[in-house]
């Protein structure tokens, strides 16, 4: 391979791929076969971090940034005046193998602009994965983008070689999609997703009967939505997310704060800050739905269409539902413990364990790691000291913000932590 040519392509096609935030390499069960190269079963390793603090686990590139579509929010759009490039299948294979052998990466995340047609593009993506698996005996992680509108046959083949497949919905509402990506329609995204979902179900059933059934996308499907490009509300984003989790058994939905890349008047202008805190609140909400037993309607509804930026969504919920509190730490069930602000799921499990031996007091909770500055207003424990004043939601919020000022100022500027 010619070094200079590949170098130029890599610069262009890595730059164009970076707006896809997913870099996860976990969840697969592919192990090393026949003394080949690689092992995806222990993946999830971040080999380095970008200067914006994101994990680098995969070689994330586009096959090409030629595209026949003109989605306004995308750097690769047809009307954008940028340098175009296209990798050959073999070049991507060589890069992946050589990066992997040097322990730079866990595998490949390959996406693409759409050239000629959806099927033509998908075929090339599949060809890369196939070559890696069959010719190079590569057992590292492969994430392929499903191209909207690709045929069922290609999607079936893709899943035989890839660990994960994803289609990015990008725009949470159909109205927004019409406005910003007039060439695209929802149905085209849904078709490959539906196919992959069905194949995974089929695989799981067959696997029960025949052990040697070839793997099909063992790390499942994911999608991404852009936040803050089309004037959508948090409610619209999370309801869409919820719909996709439920109907397509998605492993993950990613939320990507829109990075302004164009002077198009339909979009936030260049220089508008990336809505990182909002993105963080959406991830927190996502966690509440997946791990904390919340229903979406409890957090976002017609009365509350957007998430508070200054407090996390669980605290927001608690403040709107003071009648559910205080909760007795020594008696409450798991579901209710998980709803207390300042308690992560780890603390919940530790509390359930520890209280079998003794009644827990403030000191116990502190050493377990409960964030008492938030939790104290919502709980009672084995102590006669507890919040006795009849505080209003506004008052509690004020007290919490006052006492955790440093953390929240940091959060408001840049920090991206989930619940502590």
């Amino acid at each position: 391979m010619s070094f200079e040519r590949v170098q130029e392509k890599l610069n262009i096609l890595a730059d164009a791929a970076k707006y896809d935030v997913s870099c996860s390499s976990s969840g697969s069960n592919r192990t090393n076969k026949n003394k080949g190269l690689g092992d995806a079963s222990a993946s999830g390793i971040c080999h380095t971090y970008t200067e914006d603090g994101r994990c680098v686990s995969l070689l994330k590139i586009l096959l090409t940034n030629h595209c026949i579509f003109d989605c306004a929010y995308c750097v690769t759009r047809k009307s954008n005046d940028i340098k175009r490039a296209a990798f050959k299948v073999q070049e991507v294979v060589d890069l992946t193998i050589n990066f992997y052998r040097r322990n730079y990466i866990e595998g490949l995340f390959l996406s693409s602009g759409i050239f000629k047609s959806a099927d033509y593009t998908m075929e090339r993506l599949v060809a890369v994965a196939k070559k890696l698996r069959l010719e190079e005996n590569f057992n590292g992680y492969i994430h392929l983008k499903s191209i909207p509108g690709a045929s069922d046959e290609l999607m079936r083949e893709a899943g035989l070689y890839a660990d994960r497949l994803s289609v990015n919905i990008e725009i949470p509402t159909e109205k927004g999609l019409k406005l910003l990506a007039p060439d695209k329609n929802r149905a085209d995204f849904i078709k490959p997703m539906e196919k992959v979902k069905n194949e995974i179900i089929l695989y799981k059933n067959e696997k029960k009967l025949i052990k040697s059934t070839p793997k099909y996308a063992p790390a499942g499907q994911s999608t991404q939505m852009i936040v803050g490009a089309s004037g959508e509300s948090d409610m619209q984003i999370m309801y869409t997310s919820n719909y996709f989790y439920k109907n397509f058994n998605l492993k993950r939905v990613y939320y990507s704060g829109y990075v302004p890349i164009s002077y198009d008047t339909r979009l936030p202008q260049i220089g508008t800050p990336v809505p990182m805190l909002r993105e963080n609140r959406l991830y927190q909400t996502d966690w509440l739905l997946r791990f904390y037993g919340f229903n979406i309607e409890e957090i976002l509804n017609e009365q509350n269409q957007s998430l508070d930026l200054d407090i996390d969504p669980k605290l927001g919920w608690a403040l709107r539902n003071l009648h559910e509190f205080p909760v007795d730490i020594n008696k409450a069930d798991k579901r209710m413990l998980a709803r207390i602000p300042g308690l992560g799921m780890k603390s919940v499990f530790k509390i359930l364990n520890a209280r079998r031996y003794r009644q827990l007091n403030w000191d116990h909770l502190k050493s377990i790691g409960v964030a008492l500055n938030r939790a104290q207003y919502f709980i009672v424990c084995a102590s006669n000291q507890f919040e006795r004043r009849d505080l209003t939601s506004e008052k509690i919020k004020g007290l919490i913000l006052q006492n955790s000022k440093s953390k929240y100022t940091a959060m408001l500027s840049n920090q991206l932590n989930l619940f502590g």
């Binding site: 070094f3 590949v6 170098q7 890599l10 610069n11 890595a14 730059d15 791929a17 970076k18 707006y19 192990t31 090393n32 003394k35 080949g36 190269l37 690689g38 092992d39 222990a42 390793i45 971040c46 080999h47 380095t48 971090y49 970008t50 200067e51 914006d52 603090g53 994101r54 994990c55 680098v56 070689l59 994330k60 890069l95 050589n98 990066f99 052998r101 040097r102 322990n103 730079y104 005996n137 704060g257 990075v259 302004p260 800050p273 990336v274 990182m276 840049n414 920090q415 991206l416």
Partner: protein, 254 residues
């Protein structure tokens, strides 16, 4: 009077010391790596020759007392090379053997607690090394990486890299402790190396490394730069994930 048992620095050597201390019913005893040993002013010292069988018997005895997860902690903690780790381990072992129940996770005991802290540190560095090792291809087609970890984690890396790089020869060399592990497509062995006096681990000298090596390093550096989103820059978070002392390994940070 205290007896100091001097051993060769290996884990089996340490376990042999434990065996000896039991056998000789020594009350006041400490164990010291021969590399760090200085003749004590008071008390006596004895050089202990590592005996596999004695070591195995201590290990088997511990095994009966705890889960394999808990057992592993003793080895991990040992690799921390903490100056007082022998005492910590020995006291923890005494406590475990003296008790009829499994107390290997009784964090109310100071020695057990200390041991678990050391284990955690060693485990964290093992993971970091799995992520931050960077192989360079040598002219004789061996993928070579040098490390200089805070703790002696090299023995813990073998499994991970064997599973992953089954079809290439590789060598990971600890510059600080002057030994490496080498996989020759069949087995992985501990080796020592005569590194050339002017070998510079931060450079990729063309005398040693394959001509394409520098090209791939350059491509990786380019990739690292291209995948960054400038408008999201957050160096504080970056450094939290990749502490500066590890930068020396990472070609993308050179």
């Amino acid at each position: 009077m205290e007896t100091t048992l001097v051993y060769d620095g290996t884990f089996d050597g340490f376990l042999t010391c434990v065996f000896t201390a039991y056998e000789m019913k020594l009350k006041a005893v400490s164990m010291v790596n021969e590399k760090l040993f200085q003749e004590p002013l008071f008390g006596t010292s004895e050089v202990i020759i590592t005996e596999q069988e004695k070591a195995n018997r201590v290990w088997a005895g511990l095994k009966k007392k705890m889960s394999s997860n808990e057992l592993r902690r003793f080895y991990y903690a040992f690799l921390s090379e903490n100056p007082t780790v022998e005492t910590t381990l020995y006291q923890a072992i005494l406590y475990v053997f003296a008790s009829t129940k499994n107390v290997a996770s009784d964090f109310g005991n100071v020695h057990i607690l200390e041991l678990s802290k050391l284990t955690k540190n060693v485990g964290r560095e093992k993971h970091r090394m799995e992520a931050f090792v960077r192989f360079k291809l040598t002219k004789d087609v061996i993928y070579f990486a040098n490390i200089a970890p805070d703790f002696n984690v090299l023995p813990l890396l073998k499994n991970h890299f064997e599973k992953r790089y089954a079809d290439q020869k590789w060598l990971i060399y600890d510059l600080k402790r002057k030994y490496g592990i080498y996989y020759d497509l069949q087995t992985t062995e501990l080796i020592s190396l005569e590194l050339d006096a002017n070998f510079d681990p931060s450079k990729t000298s063309s005398a040693i490394f394959a001509p394409i090596e520098l090209e791939f390093q350059q491509l990786w550096k380019d990739y690292f730069r291209s995948t960054n989103i400038k408008s999201r820059k957050n160096m504080k978070l970056h450094i939290q994930h990749v502490p500066k002392r590890y930068w020396k390994y990472l070609s993308e940070k050179q």
